[in-house]
Amino acid sequence: MSENKTNGITRRTFLRYSASMAAIAGVSSILPGYALAGFGSEKRDVLTPQGPDNVIDLTIGKMPHMVDGKRGEAIGINGSVPAPLIRLKEGQDVLLRVTNELDEPTSIHWHGILLPFQMDGVPGVSFDGIKPGTTFEYRYPVRQSGTYWYHSHSGLQEQLGHYGPMIIDPASEDPVEYDREYPVVLSDWTFENPYNVLEKNVKMEGYYNYQRRDVGEFLNDVKKKGFGSTIKDYLSWGQMRMSATDLLDITGATYTFLMNGHGPESNWNPLFKKGEKVRLRFINASAGTTAFDVRIPGLDMTVVQADGQNVKPVSIEEFRIGIAETYDVIVEPKDEKPYTIFAESLDRSGYARGTIAPRKDMMAAVPELRPRPKRSHRDMGMMMDMDGMDMEGDSMMEMDHGDMDHGNMDHSDMNMSAMKETPVKHGPDKHGPGAAAIAQNQFNRMGEPGIGLGNDGRNVLVYNDLKSLEPNIDERPAEREVELHLTGNMERYMWSFDGKQFHEVKGPIEFEHNERLRLTLVNDTMMEHPIHLHGMWMEMENGNGIYNPRKHTLLLQPAQRISALVTPRDKGRWAFHCHILYHMERGMFRVVQVADEDGNIYGQDYA
């Protein structure tokens, strides 16, 4: 616990100081400049509410965006990609005035924020969108604290840079102690037109996959496992018309992965002083399919917050962050040396990185990308791998770490326990032409770190590790259950729930106001999907009872079955979707409606 002050100013005294200064002089920033050093270009700023009405003005427009020396055209906010950090305080009533200088409609959705639904910012669901040349006033009371973000919910704008971090300071004391903090916005950038990216995936399966199992790999596999079992393995994938390398739909073949807007070459470079507790607020603002695996070689991380909610601190070396999730970690660099913040894409086709260092322009070694993992039969919802961890087959342990000592793996306990659970069998519904493979067996998997992780001795965060710091308010058991299956067809690039794309559904999914609901999600696809519910928390049922973590986004592994308890407190109409932008647009989207007894959704409830 390093309470020692560096250069005489701690965060808390600073906040007190700046708050009074703000009161006297209307100072705009309540964050010391250094805390955001290197966050972006000089234009980037911290926006805090101004004046008696707590106003923040945001302007959305086209702008050039430099990525590792190459110029692209982005959609930025106040001239910045990512958009500026918005810093609010719990208990404020804020007014965010958003002006659209694009020649198309736009919107801002406040991701993870509980607010009146008309302020939620989903065109066609909660409001009409912001037309070109107009200003929309988002007005809402801030009822929570933590790390969040905001982004466009219009078309594919999010892919072009329309996203930014949002931090809400707690009204009372922050249970997390830290001396310095940085938002770390991870994202993916393409110089291609995102509509073309989508179209290419529709027209050609695996367009961006340049990591297939080719002849060279086949020969390697033969050398390692013998001809017979290699053939058997390849044939079994062929028989299922699936690819073991369907990891991400869109890859480093077109993406440059960004950390706070910086490509890997231009190296985002935040600073620390030795012995400080540095809070890194990771936000995965990717639009494409990019889940990141984050580690800081040489530094342990303590996870203190997930999706804006404080969790019991967990010490880890690596974590996977799905799109739209946030994780706050504390690091305490003990040495005066630089450390690389390394965020590999799940498919290992690229990485985002930055360097946290005691001085500017220091650099640490950048790790090699690990070999890309391979899907297992378990990801297909098959039982084969459950039978005694067959090392011959394509089990989870056979993840292309041929040169690795299997004896050193520390995940066996975890996986074995996951294996002992009884999987749920899939019902008779095959979900139609829009669903390619159905996970015949659905696994809990919350003890599994996910594909390609946990095999190299690192201590990796799993969903079971997340335990809320505060107990959840609603202790009622579930009164009703809603089960939804995540379905898709990579061949046709159709994505859906229960085999139905959004345009096929008749109306919203009805949640009752203040009911206690169990939302069960089953991933019938063989890819990861981050599922996001607007307007209410999902208390993920990972066995911690009233300490189940509250999340706004759940990253589902293939063949995973997850349930969460939900209490819909705010009436209205809420979006519910896969946060992979292209999956959402291709149909993995629903509207949840919370109406009162009379079917009225326009009321408000702040209880």
């Binding site: 008309q118 065109p123 007005r139 032409p433 061949e491 109306g507 647009e585 291709r586 326009y602």
Partner: protein
Amino acid sequence: MTMINRTAIFILTMFAIIVFTQSSVLAQKAPPFSNDIMMDNHTYVFFMADRFEYNMNSGLNPLVLDAQGYIGKDLNKFWFKAEGEALTAETEGEMEFQGLYSRAVGPYFDAQAGIRYDVAYNADDSQSRGFAVIGLQGLAPYLFEVDGALFVSDAGDISASLEAEYDFPITQRLWGQPRLETSLAVQEVEKWGIGSGFNNVQLGFRLRYEIEREFAPYIGISWNRKLGQTADFTRLEGGEASVFGLIGGVRMWF
């Protein structure tokens, strides 16, 4: 508190609530429910020249085109196919065109139905005929791209064809593609040089390099063997029943 006070407070509170809800943006209503706000019901246009190649064989050196594409949505499409060859050494060629309604009947297969129109020409003459078509196209287990169809000609002749292709990556950009094509006729149609039974087997292997996914030049070999009566018709016309050729071409799509 007196009754009057309570009433006053009540009225004022109600008034405040009314003013608040009326003046506030919170009074905005949601747009009517629409499920047309995503891009999941979009119409796409696809065109691919899968084979566009020059075939070096015993002097006839045909130019082959095999193109297809669609316009439509995920489950329902208008599908068009064109396949044909023109000899470069002589004035002779044959082309077929198909226009089909295509409907997804499973995750991997489309059922197709429509019409086919054939044209054949040589230095002296040209002829054409029409067909009704039903077929099944998609990805079979073991990742074979298959396209099978049944044809009924305007003269009532029944025939069928089957194409199967398999693509495998040799490297990430270099692909091998074995290909099989065969056709079968119930009746003999001498005018078109077709005998009854299996007409021909065409085997090919192509090696393509994807400079871009959309543009891939290739080289390969092809062996075309006419069978049975069809082979006899070919020999009668002075052709060879079995032709082996080296091919060079390009696969393109948009």
